[in-house]
């Protein structure tokens, strides 16, 4: 007698390579900050070069992070110290000018303006940084991104194609190809895409659809998700099916919030490891995604 294997409503175990949203809150406004690129940290991998399958194009990633003065010390500073270093270029957007430094967009605060801020941010990037990257990642100040894995995923795709990856809700970040950004900007200039919306996600998604930008498959070789709008435990905890209530204890994983955004995840991803372990999943093994592969 023992615990049997999985049954019933078990969450599909998610991919090893993930982008996670840590909390549920949004950053307040938009101002930008020009930060240095990842050059001050020796990257373990070729910067900007595609990491695997296709080396006929580069995979330079520009990261821009939606933040605000309230979170600069507590979250954004730590993003800057950790995963953002691996972007080829990173920009911080905040409504109010700060010493961080952030890029200041002339936008007012408020959730209703989120969409407008996103548009303004993309316009700024398009105007000043378009040639610096092939892919444009939008993240919030509570998102955790494993850039190496994102780069690996993107290397399979041509940035001159109109593609986007991730959820447009921005919860776990999303990525636009060069062509997708071009069309996005064009959509606003021409009026094909609406300027005003209180629901950022839907409006963005609608614009993508209008401009014929398609979602690229961001799942791994085994059909597992790589973008996650919720914290890790949402996906990883098996609910033991048991008749007795005390087996069904559910505890919310509280990652380290406040100062030190994502240091615990950085430690788990980049530092702590089992010595000598032969990982089960090797992304370079070409396993075909067949029709029966389950996806979330």
């Amino acid at each position: 007698m023992g615990i049997s294997g999985r049954r019933g409503t078990e969450p599909e175990l998610s991919s090893e390579r993930i982008f996670i949203r840590i909390t549920g809150t949004q950053g307040p406004g938009v101002s930008e900050s020009l930060s240095s690129s990842g050059a001050d940290v020796p990257l373990p991998h070729c910067e900007g070069k595609s990491s695997a399958a296709n080396s006929s194009h580069t995979t330079r990633i520009l990261c821009w992070i939606m933040t605000g003065p309230k979170n600069l010390e507590s979250r954004t500073k730590h993003i800057r110290e950790t995963w953002a270093k691996r972007c080829d270029r990173v920009l911080y957007m905040s409504s109010v000018k700060t010493d961080f430094p952030t890029v200041e967009l002339n936008v007012s605060e408020g959730r209703d303006n989120l969409y407008w801020k996103t548009i303004r941010a993309f316009q700024y990037i398009h105007e000043h940084h378009f040639d610096e990257a092939d892919w444009f990642l939008k993240a919030d100040d509570d998102t955790f991104v494993v850039i190496e894995n994102l780069r690996y995923t993107l290397s399979k795709y041509d940035p001159e194609k109109p593609l986007y990856l991730g959820y447009m809700s921005g919860g776990a970040g999303y990525v636009l190809s060069k062509e997708a950004l071009r069309r996005f900007i064009k959509g606003f200039d021409s009026g094909e895409c609406t300027h005003f919306s209180t629901i950022e996600d839907m409006a963005l998604g609608k614009c993508m659809e209008t401009m014929k930008v398609e979602p690229a498959d961001s799942r791994d070789m085994k059909g597992r998700q790589t973008f996650h709008p919720y914290p890790p435990d949402h996906y990883l905890v098996r609910q033991f099916p048991r008749p007795r209530p005390w087996f069904l204890l559910y505890e919310h994983y509280t990652p380290v919030e406040g100062p030190g955004c994502c240091s615990d995840l950085v430690y788990l991803t980049y530092h702590l490891r089992p010595y000598g372990y032969k990982y089960r999943f090797n992304p370079d093994e070409h396993i075909e995604l067949n029709a029966t592969t389950k996806s979330i």
Partner: protein, 318 residues
């Protein structure tokens, strides 16, 4: 009057003797010959460095990795069944042999029922049982239900250590004069240490089963006392840079501490890449740990380790 004075003097004299005896007993510590401490002068054991391993031949490394096999002794109780279940489902799968020892049996999970309520007596029985059932396993790891261990890193720590020497490792703490390994961060014993321990268990003076002190010592301290009689001392397990590998705290707590102590260097200043144990995590957090330790990793980072450990069979969360 003289007889009264005499009684008084006798009383004083006896009191003085009594005091002397008490203070002598008090200062008596069960340490063996401390002036000629043998091989373990140091109180820390470090993992082999990369260079050290490079000096070994491939066949030597192969032989060592075949030899270093761990018997996990996991002490559980039915009243915290969910931790028990979590240990079964997570880290214990990486032990060469994982045996659960319980205070009383439970229909839900398999364990060796020691039918013993006293914590120290139960630990003794578990250790004795493990010793008798060791087979060819030469390293023993004792865990509590809230311990989370990375067995591969334990193997790495003891890789070049000879289990026929007495080793008693973990998060070494000090209580007065006594150095002991903290229980919840895991206790590592070599075969020889366990051998000596099982022998001294028979000595009711040095290592009583039910404890003799007026105050009750915790089991980890009792263990240290008994081992000390056999010439085995607690040692702190560390990586090649001297960072501790065994912790009674969770990753979150360690990171939070590091934010206070090393605000500009939170992750590097925190914990070892080769950490062996953490403690104080909820069952859900342990599931997340399995993912964070055994699966999540950045593409392209190569390590060129000298050993290879394969994932356990019939397991999907690692």
């Amino acid at each position: 009057m003289l007889s009264e004075g005499g009684s008084f003097m006798k009383g004083m004299f006896m009191g003085a003797i009594f005091c002397l005896v008490l203070s002598l007993l008090g200062s008596f510590s069960p340490s063996t010959d401390s002036s000629t401490e043998d091989q373990h002068h140091h109180h820390h054991v470090q993992a082999p460095s990369k260079d050290e391993l490079k000096r070994l031949s491939d066949s030597q490394v192969q032989e060592l990795s075949n030899q270093v096999r761990v018997y996990c002794i996991i002490m559980v109780q039915p009243k915290i069944l969910v931790y028990w279940a979590t240990a079964v489902d997570t880290w214990s799968k990486h032990c060469d042999k994982a045996v659960f020892y319980t205070s009383e049996s439970s229909k839900a999970l398999e364990a060796v029922d020691l039918d013993e309520k006293d914590d120290w007596a139960r630990l003794r029985k578990a250790l004795k049982h493990a010793y008798e059932n060791a087979g060819d396993l030469r390293w023993f790891f004792v865990a509590q239900p809230t311990t989370f261990a990375i067995i591969e890193n334990l193997k790495y720590l003891v890789l070049t250590k000879d289990p026929s020497e007495p080793f008693y490792l973990g998060n070494a703490m000090k209580s007065g004069e006594l150095e002991y390994v903290a229980y919840e961060s895991g206790i590592v014993l070599s075969y020889e240490a366990l051998n000596r321990l099982v022998n001294v268990f028979q000595d009711e003076d040095k290592c009583p089963e039910r404890g003799r002190a007026l105050w009750k010592l915790s089991e980890d301290k009792q263990l240290a006392v008994c081992l000390k009689y056999t010439g085995v001392y607690a040692e702190n397990g560390e990586d090649a840079h001297g960072k501790g590998l065994f912790s009674s705290k969770s990753v979150n707590t360690l990171i939070t501490d590091s934010m206070k102590d090393n605000p500009n260097n939170v992750v590097e200043g925190c914990c070892s890449d080769m950490a062996v144990t953490f403690s104080g995590m909820s069952p859900n957090q342990m599931q997340v740990m399995m993912f964070g330790v055994y699966r999540l990793r950045p593409y392209g980072h190569e390590f060129h380790d000298s050993l290879v450990f394969y994932p356990p069979e019939n397991s999907d969360n690692d």
